[in-house]
Symmetry: C2
DNA sequence: GAAGCGCCTTAACAAATGATAAGCTGCGCT
DNA sequence: AGCGCAGCTTATCATTTGTTAAGGCGCTTC
């Protein structure tokens, strides 16, 4: 049985943005205009690696997997982004490079998408947009900082345990082999250290 | 023989900021007022791990080493910051937590320091400060993104080679065992893979 | 129910890395 | 010169992780 009253993704977006800055109605309308509503079925490729289009994403339902793709064709999971979370190829945009990762939907996913160039152009229009941009960058930084520290300080086993405690619900939605890649090990190795409790 | 005309660190700071946004004279003076000039001798501890004071740093001469300190007392190098580079415990400030890393001068270092809380308070005073804050966060994000990708996709050997090609001069200023820690391996292991060319 | 597929586990072996200890080298100091 | 120390290397062995291959389990599809 699905939710009989599906919440408006734009409502969720508005709430998320308001947590960063008080967004006056006129400016909110500009943002709302920029974001397009999109859907992806499970296993659908949302962003193709090497894409020239940079999009700011906001997931309202479902789960996205972000992955690097090396020359050998091997994937390494970079992040998982679920409900009410943002994602953006900020580094690529700043450096004016094509997006170097791909995005795949792990479940049927509903999300909002706005060209990052368009969003960044707003910075010059009104200070509140600049603030949103700062908060976006800071949020991404905090996320990456936590991950970086975890990778440098912890062993694979510790990283796994940490992930489970911090994302108990999310862990059940992610296939083991994708989680392993995210933790920086192989599926076999993860299975092994799980057995060792 | 030292430089007979030592450049003004504030001049370097101004140039660095101007690269991010056109900073009008009055606002520049506010920033300049906030930054204090400091020096550290080689091996001096600039920031003690767990410190409650969050500082925005700008190195004008020398080299700083940023390191995590785990419960067992073991250090892991998080970053090296040299001339004309910024560093800031943005994640800690955003989450309102004590700084979870330490900073040590690897050489005699001259730097400018401003309380991060003071800097962030400026965001509400003028849009140009907000822009500087955004650019600061974006820069830190780009730096961390590159590092993260390198850690996930590359082997220790590849990371070492990459570091050498991208920072040939810096590599010679960093002791091997500190570089090893930065690369996520031990000093012994680095020595080993160097021999294997 | 048989076949196919996705996901997970297990086993056996190879490779990479850690831990510990010992020794080498350059350099500053007295 | 002799000493002490910091930084680097080397050797040895233990541990972790990767690789490859095989099989199990549940689910869907025909």
């Amino acid at each position: 049985m699905t939710n009989p009253l599906p919440s408006d993704p734009y409502l969720a977006l508005s709430a998320a943005l308001q947590r960063w800055a008080e967004l006056p109605q006129p400016q909110w309308l500009v943002v709302r205009e920029g974001f397009r509503r999109r859907k992806a079925v499970a296993r659908e490729l949302v962003v193709f690696p090497g894409s020239q289009s940079h999009d700011l994403l906001f997931v309202s339902r479902g789960l996205l997997r972000f992955f690097y793709l090396d020359e050998g064709g091997r994937e390494t999971n970079k992040a998982f982004v679920a409900e009410n979370e943002f994602a953006a190829p900020l580094a690529s945009a700043v450096l004016q490079q094509p997006v170097y990762y791909g995005v795949e939907a792990l479940e049927e996913t509903e999300y909002l998408s706005m060209p990052l160039g368009e969003f960044r152009a707003l910075y010059h229009r009104h200070p509140v947009f600049e603030r949103l941009g700062r908060c976006l960058a800071e949020m991404l930084l905090v996320r990456k900082e936590r991950r970086m520290r975890s990778m440098l300080e912890q062993t694979a086993t510790e990283r796994y345990r940490t992930f489970l405690t911090e994302n108990p619900l999310l862990a059940e939605r992610i296939p083991q082999y994708h989680l392993a890649s995210y933790l920086g090990i192989t599926e076999v190795s993860l299975s092994r250290l799980k057995k060792a409790l």
